[in-house]
């Protein structure tokens, strides 16, 4: 599965274009990590628990988008864009979308 955020895949030819695919996920970290983050608020620095959270979310959202692309018969997704937002306290929402294509 070709995944790029440019409009065409470098060195390959796009044969067919199928439409928009997207993946989204909302995840939360358990309360222990929230408490650690609260403490980190005092000293500053990377909130590793939440970074992990974003990475997991990103992975899951990408997997869902790829699943959608496969269901259309595509073998690549171009023009991938990410959007994150916080929909609930302590939870992060990640949305990824792109155009599903068939690549030769």
């Amino acid at each position: 599965m070709y995944l790029v955020n440019t409009e065409s895949i470098p060195g390959k030819e796009i044969v067919e274009m199928y439409g928009v695919v997207s993946g989204s996920t909302v995840r939360a970290k358990h309360v222990g990590k929230d408490i650690m983050a609260g403490l980190k608020n005092i000293v500053g620095g990377e909130l590793r628990g939440y970074t992990e959270l974003l990475q997991e979310s990103r992975q899951e959202a990408m997997d869902r988008m790829v699943q959608q692309a496969k269901s259309m018969g595509a073998n690549g997704v171009v023009n991938i864009r990410f959007a994150t937002s916080s929909v609930a306290q302590g939870a992060s929402e990640l949305y990824v979308y792109g155009t599903a294509v068939l690549v030769k």
């Binding site: 699943q67 269901s71 259309m72």
Partner: protein, 253 residues
Amino acid sequence: MKLDYRQPDATVNVSKVSPLKRAVQLFLGLSVTFVTIYVVLGVLVNILAPKIPMSLEQKMGSAILNEWTVGNDNETVNSYKDILVKLVGEEVAATYTIMILEEAELNAFAIPGNIVGVTTGFVEEITDEEMIAFALGHELGHFENRDHIKSYGRLFVLYTMVNTLTGSDGSLATAFLDLLSKTETKFSQVDELRADVYGAALLYDTYGSYDGGIDFFNYLSEDYDGSHIVSYFESHPHPEKRVQRLMDMTELE
């Protein structure tokens, strides 16, 4: 390149798990966890309570007293003191202070710092010496068992735990606190019955009968409009049950 527009599988973005099932699972799981932690900590508190120093108790006591207006009915205080001396003797009675609190409802409290609080409602309604003696003895029983320390300890742990874990969001914390306060009343009813036993023993030693206690509960029953089911959730057992316990004790004598 050809555009062959298609629709994707739109169900991938929503989990197949039923939210209702998940909600029930989580609520039950968390409730069980909280109640277990609470009970365990309750036992721990029971072990630690006797080790609290008197100075700390007095601080707690003064904080609680701030909630009330203290009356200055010295005559009643002195007559109550006399009854207390009859029950436990001069020396022990001197370690306790009796205070009259302005409140219409009939009640008596064991306040940390060896303070026995009695409401003006109590003073007005209860005039029989043996009944007063039983009530005072009952409160002394709470002190003896350090019940007040234990219940404050449990409540403190309870609030801290629930508020930390649920992020003190109003609604969810309320639900769990409600649940745990039901557990707390169970602890409390046991303590109450034990204080009854203590008070009754003092009564018997001083006056030779349990009548003071029995009369007291009969008096409470008349006013008590709660059924047995409601009292299951109250901090004190139903007065009829307390009478029963007392009568059972008299059979044993």
